[in-house]
């Protein structure tokens, strides 16, 4: 839930009773109406969601984004014959406002063409880390102003979807390096891209190998185990963690199957339905990112990753990359904490 800027009411019992309309039942105070007020406020303000897609070219990132949000967020980025693959990693973002049932979502998608495509891919993750830190920096700058805006525009990356190529073997050295570095700065959701090249058995074997690799390299992908707050969360997230990474297929063309119109890929031997759980796990990814955990992603970004960044910035600002408008915030007297080692969980 968005943080409330209201003073707490003195009588905060009776959370669990059903919600009557306010002023109808004299025995209750009517606190439940707060939920309605929240909803109305949220509808007015709208939501922001920033997602970043990382992976080698051709793994279906643009198609996946289009499929997720059921709109042509990105025109399928198939470069024409004259356009060469970019020599260095570039980042570009596209923003759209999508509306559903009166609720507006400002969606920003950041793409990373050129990632992992060169012969020498050393340090190809650095521009990405730089971009993420830059967004944190921008937010920080806004936050420390004396007269702040009422609603700080949030360009921080809430979720990074990492596309693993479906080799069927295990994670590659590039994947390991990238995931290790990025899981400490942002929520990373790895997915097995173009999963229509793996049979069900190959998929399961690949998934368990990836999970083993992630464990042995101490890579904590979203949903992170250490941020589970209560037993309900734990159960829900454990179910998700068993299936990570999801094997997904993206498609933005519709075909007719058994009289229904479905999104899918048509081949000579069958039609792969994107929303069919028996075919691929796209519904799981969609549910995770949008239907159930969108707010959680934003919360973890705000409460944990951003706070970590802020702590390091305030203590040792000379160590971080200097983006535009960089200001030396280090108070002279504060000694350095354990921030030099890496990111810490800041509660």
């Amino acid at each position: 839930m968005d943080t409330l800027k209201e003073s707490p009411s003195p009588c905060s019992s009776r959370h669990n009773s059903p919600r009557p309309a306010p002023c109808e039942m004299p025995a209750t105070v009517g606190i439940e109406a707060v939920l309605d007020q929240l909803k109305i406020k949220a509808m007015k303000m709208g939501f922001e969601f920033n997602i970043m897609v990382v992976g080698q070219s051709g793994l279906g990132k643009s198609t996946m984004v289009n499929t997720l949000f059921k709109s042509k967020v990105w025109k399928s980025a198939l470069p024409g014959p004259g356009v060469p693959t970019p020599q260095t990693l570039q980042l570009h973002s596209v923003s759209h406002v999508i509306e559903e049932k009166g609720l507006k979502l400002k969606l920003t998608v950041t793409d990373t063409p050129g990632f992992g495509d060169q012969i020498n891919n050393d340090k190809c993750w650095e521009p990405i880390l730089g971009y993420i830190n830059e967004q944190y920096e921008q937010y920080l700058q806004e936050e420390i102003l004396i007269t702040r805006q009422r609603h700080i525009p949030d360009t921080r990356v809430h979720c990074c979807v990492y596309f693993v190529p479906p080799t069927g073997h295990c994670l590659r050295p590039l994947d390991i390096e990238f995931l290790q570095r990025l899981c400490q700065t942002v929520n990373v959701v790895p997915v097995i891209a173009r999963a229509d090249s793996l049979t069900i058995e190959e998929r399961e074997a690949f998934r368990s190998r990836i999970q083993k690799d992630l464990k042995s390299h101490c890579i904590d992908v979203y949903p992170q185990k250490r941020f589970d707050e209560d037993p309900n969360d734990k159960i829900l997230n454990s179910k998700i963690r068993e299936r990570i990474p999801f094997a997904v297929v993206g498609a933005d063309q519709e075909h007719v199957v058994n009289g229904r119109c479905v999104l899918g890929r048509k081949t000579n031997w069958g039609i792969i339905e994107v929303e069919n759980m028996a075919h691929c796990e796209f519904p799981l990814l969609r549910d995770l990112l949008i239907r159930s955990h969108l707010q959680d992603l934003k919360d973890i970004t705000h409460n944990i990753h951003y706070e970590n960044y802020r702590v390091v910035r305030l203590n040792e600002s000379h160590q971080l990359p200097r983006g535009p408008g960089w200001v030396n915030l280090a108070p002279v007297s504060l000694a350095s904490t354990s921030a030099g080692q890496g990111w810490t969980y800041h509660s």
């Binding site: 693959t85 012969i119 295990c170 049979t199």
Partner: protein
Amino acid sequence: MSKQQPAQFINPETPGYVGFANLPNQVHRKSVKKGFEFTLMVVGESGLGKSTLINSLFLTDLYPERIIPGAAEKIERTVQIEASTVEIEERGVKLRLTVVDTPGYGDAINCRDCFKTIISYIDEQFERYLHDESGLNRRHIIDNRVHCCFYFISPFGHGLKPLDVAFMKAIHNKVNIVPVIAKADTLTLKERERLKKRILDEIEEHNIKIYHLPDAESDEDEDFKEQTRLLKASIPFSVVGSNQLIEAKGKKVRGRLYPWGVVEVENPEHNDFLKLRTMLITHMQDLQEVTQDLHYENFRSERLKRGGRKVENEDMNKDQILLEKEAELRRMQEMIARMQAQMQMQMQAGDGDSGALGHHV
């Protein structure tokens, strides 16, 4: 007039008949006795289905106890060369097939040195053959030269990657390259056509010399001409490999079973596996010939021009040569000093035998 039946031994008593029309049969019999040798190299990133395809092509299991290494091992590994030989016999004809695999190619984060190992392996085989050919006993030369290289292109990209281009340019003068699009069941037909065209354009753009099928001779029959035309139009071949038998439409076929259908390996509407196999079998002889006549001869003339000195690094500069010469001089001088010392000792010891001054050379 006797009827021409090409494969039979014609009656030598027919007037005007010399009999050398049977030469092809003799050659045929001799080759069948000798057997054929073929070396095939497969190069491509891990996970593109190279091993599966080789097993499917030759209906064998070249990698019976294969353990796929975990991510930690992959980080440390460099490119290795693994050659496995298998003898296949079909209707009395023996084929000694060597498959050279290159695990570790394209795995590392920095792939700049990926292909040095591979190129030096190819050169080494040429070198060995040259050495054997120039030797005294030439009866049993084993031909381990790489006759053909299947280069696996990932179907997930939008064409050739920079690594693909760099590698093909480095070996197109040494070996016949046959580009293959792997895991073709992940592409729809339209995507496949688009990718093939894109790859051909890029190959032309970068002046990469891939193996071109020879045109059918004008006296071949129409079927063969048509087949050759079809093969040529399908390059690069997009293939799917599998050795699992799946039940489809009442019969057992080799294929891959998905929840949405079955991909049949030997169905020409599903992929180009049959075309690749036909090409390989029909043109095995031609591949060997081109290796011998073009690539090997290139190597040989380069090598002999450089002289007898074995140069590993092509751009050895003068300083290095000078240093080497100096080192050799020093060694010679040391040897001479030692010999002189020995002679001194002998003179002192054998003063009695004054005539026994031997020259040790």
